[in-house]
Symmetry: C2
Subunit: 511 residues, 2 copies
């Protein structure tokens, strides 16, 4: 799920297809006023009483980082989360082995008419303590300007903070002597940060699949608020294929198999030039549009309704500020912001994430490299599929004689879409409105996440992300999650706990 | 001077345009028999007596690495070499400042009719002690299979070993009570490993230039022997321009100035794609021939005499072994070895040394890089010049609208040529023949070195490299230089000392 890389730049709004209003929110009120009264006042009281326990729950979890890429604390992380789920009230909790790292499956059937699915992750991104201003596993409280007191730690925003806040909502409901208004089905993976390679395997285990199919929808607890107090609701996400395109003397049978002296270029072929020549066939000469044979066959253009959403979202955007924040002076093709946002939502892309060949240090080194690699990500839009795109890329290269150029796919997701009229999305909209949070409908996340695993067969249920509060630096040093807000438009821990409570009750009541 | 990178691969013969006969030299005699008798027997005796002092001289020098790229021991290295020159008998010795690191200029006028120029370097390549099996500054003696006892240390082969051996020859002549048969003019630089950026400045100081112009030729002491006992005489070298081609949002005014989330590719231009598109215009679609406008205007094809040299050089080549050593299965365009060698000598090249953009670690990272770099080396042949090539590359890019793509040149040399009928080359041939070493005439070194500084105006004298013995791993760990040979065809320290002695006397006597 790569949308969180973007948090690093604190510009999530753009990628979500909504617009940011710029910094400097006016402080209208001294304290948040989310759901202070009403029928759930007893639960709010319990949530407030449980605040310190809730902070400790998140902090202790941050202290145990599970990192799939490093095979670090994986069984421990699954076992730890299973205990958290039991504590929160799940009646069936099961660590589920996969061919990779284990997941956790949990259910809580309260006999309610509606069942809500939960998608969680227990793994976190790698980190280098030397780059942090506060120790990454300590979850220290750090004041953040114009925001309030935050917990700083690896996983605090992504995703232990929001997930822990959802667990706090369950604790609060129980502490108030109530029973949940909906049944819960939870699936938690430990390989989200490496592209969820065994997630489908997890989800399609017969008893897990059967449980998920009964859900009215699946959501991931996420801190979705922007600094103006709005919250984005994504009606889908682009798909992605991440891959390495590799040209090598080994596979090509031309040029050297290993690096040789560069003077030999005069008598030897060059895998690096081979890569460049293969690469440049993949896009139009301006580098902006995929030119892979048949790439647009299944691409669906945005509907008028979707374009209207974009117009609505950018209404109050400060375009100059947005460009400044991104470090750009022009949108692609010198488009207007609106057209650029349509393009962002609508178009598939072939992006170069990285190029690596030969000598990459300072200065030069006179070698002819035996191998050259381009790291690409290919963003897919409905109705493309990962399988279709993979096959077309291979066929495109083969047709041009690049049979030797390897396509090594490391991960990916299909694009996903959820109907804005589904109960899940209507409950999200209604909850935000009730809490005075402006819901910003977004055509789709321009990033990618494994939501398609739920929307597509065999699960086939709506999927979304939901949650108050905010956080940042998700894949970067000093990752943080808001605990005590000084911004009246953004919810702190207790308010965001109540956000999940309200959501459960709203979903239970929705027609 | 980048030809020594190639030593790392122990395939110098190819780059020199001569051919290798494969490994496994037959051991015909238990000991070398170079110049054991004759008119220089007294000097040989002195050289043998001075062997331990000579080893110590090289070893002590290895212990003081001067590394221009790290600004390490530069004044110290110049001062140290100046002392070595004084000890060897130079009467005028002068540390010469430049805008970069200092050089050393030294002369010894014995009133002889002939004057020989010497080109030396006191700097060495960077090293990582962790990669060495013997400490890089200790100059330990290590047995090498099929070769003998070698000194292992940074700079031992490149170039302190051969240079120290030449100094040993001067010591031996003096110890034998003789005076040198030729006058000497020595110029030593400390920036050879970073592309000799201030060498021209050094050489054109009026008094240095005047001294060099009086030389019959300039030579660099170098261990030139192959395992079959032959030694290559290069009649020139290709030129080179090393540069970075850089595409960036900063210069382009399109795309991001820094890395942003890769999903934004749909609304932002990509400097990495810009680089790929600019790159692919520089060569033919097969990546093998420069396609820069006007590139071949001044390229001189090989003469029949030069082609004959190549035919002669490859006569005994084991082509299969050569391919195997290089890790290749085919020459460019599926050429025969002879045609491939002609191409090696004759053709200019545009080579990709390295590609660096965005994320270069394991796996992927969903970013759109703000900057992309291709490290290129452009080999030049007579009568191209570096200035001409630089201008043509820029004009080529500009003409295609790539005005924003930077060409950052880090160093380079013009191509160089020396007449095989010059006294210098005739003396080299005659010396090798006298010592029973087969001289292999090579059209040119396919690598590059600053020899052009001497052959071109205002110096305009012949230039060459000369020397017995062998060494290897010049820019790699475990660099070595032969001291005691067990291969009867290859000279150890005393014999190669005598090689320089013989060379001086031969040059003095040549008509």
């Amino acid at each position: 799920m790569d949308f969180r890389d973007f948090d690093r730049l604190n510009r999530r709004d753009i990628i979500r297809g909504t617009a940011m209003l710029g910094a400097g929110a006016a402080f209208l009120q001294p304290l948040p006023l989310f759901a202070q009264a009403g029928s759930l006042a007893d639960i709010r009281k319990a949530a407030a009483a449980g605040k310190e326990a809730s902070i400790k729950r998140i902090r202790d979890w941050v202290a145990l980082p599970s990192i799939a890429a490093e095979d670090r604390n994986m069984p421990e992380g699954a076992a730890y989360f299973a205990e958290l789920a039991k504590d929160a009230g799940f009646t069936h909790v099961e660590v589920v082995p996969t061919d990779g790292h284990p997941g956790v499956f949990a259910t809580l059937d309260v006999g309610a008419p509606r069942t809500l699915g939960l998608y969680l992750m227990y793994d976190v991104k790698q980190y280098d303590p030397a780059e942090w201003s506060s120790p990454p596993l300590e979850g220290k409280m750090v004041e953040r300007k114009n925001l309030g007191m935050t917990m700083v730690g690896r996983g605090s925003a992504n995703h232990k903070g929001p997930e822990g806040t959802f667990l706090a909502a369950m604790h609060a409901i129980r502490a108030a002597g109530r029973k949940l208004p909906v049944n819960l089905v939870l699936i938690c993976e430990g390989e989200e940060e490496i592209g969820s390679p065994h997630f489908r395997q997890l989800v399609t285990k017969p008893h897990i699949l059967a449980a998920l199919q009964k859900c009215d929808g699946v959501f991931m607890p996420t801190a979705m608020q922007d600094m103006e107090g709005g919250a984005t609701i994504e009606l889908g996400a682009k798909g992605i294929i991440e891959l390495e395109l590799v040209a090598s003397g080994e596979k090509w049978g031309r040029g050297p198999k290993k690096d040789v002296h560069s003077s030999l270029k005069a008598m030897l072929d060059s895998p690096a030039w081979r890569l460049v020549q293969a690469l440049q066939t993949l896009v139009t000469p301006d580098g902006n549009t995929p030119a892979i044979d048949g790439w647009f066959e299944n691409v669906r253009k945005l509907s008028d309704r979707e374009k209207a959403m974009i117009r609505d979202a950018i209404k109050h955007t400060n375009e100059a500020q947005m460009k400044d924040d991104l470090g750009v002076t022009r949108w692609i093709d010198d488009l207007s912001l609106e057209d650029a946002m349509v393009r962002l939502m609508q178009e598939p892309t072939v992006n170069i994430e990285g190029l690596v060949a030969g000598y990459t240090g300072p200065g030069g080194k006179t070698i002819l490299p035996g191998r050259a690699v381009a790291k690409l990500d290919l963003r897919l839009v409905p109705n493309q599929t990962r399988a279709e795109a993979t096959q077309k890329l291979r066929a495109h290269l083969d047709k041009r004689g690049f049979n030797d150029v390897e396509v090594n796919i490391s991960g990916g997701y299909d694009p996903t879409e959820t109907d804005e009229n589904s109960a899940l999305i209507r409950a999200e909209v209604a909850t935000y409105k009730k809490l005075g949070v402006r819901p910003n409908l977004s055509v789709r996340l321009a990033g990618s996440w494994p939501g398609g695993t739920f929307t597509q067969p065999p699960v086939s249920v709506p999927v979304g992300r939901f949650g108050l509060s905010t956080g940042g630096n998700a894949h970067a040093p000093d990752e943080y999650y808001l605990i005590d807000s000084t911004n009246p438009k953004v919810a702190g821990l207790v308010d965001s706990t109540m956000g999940y409570v309200e959501f459960l009750y709203t979903l239970a009541a929705i027609k």
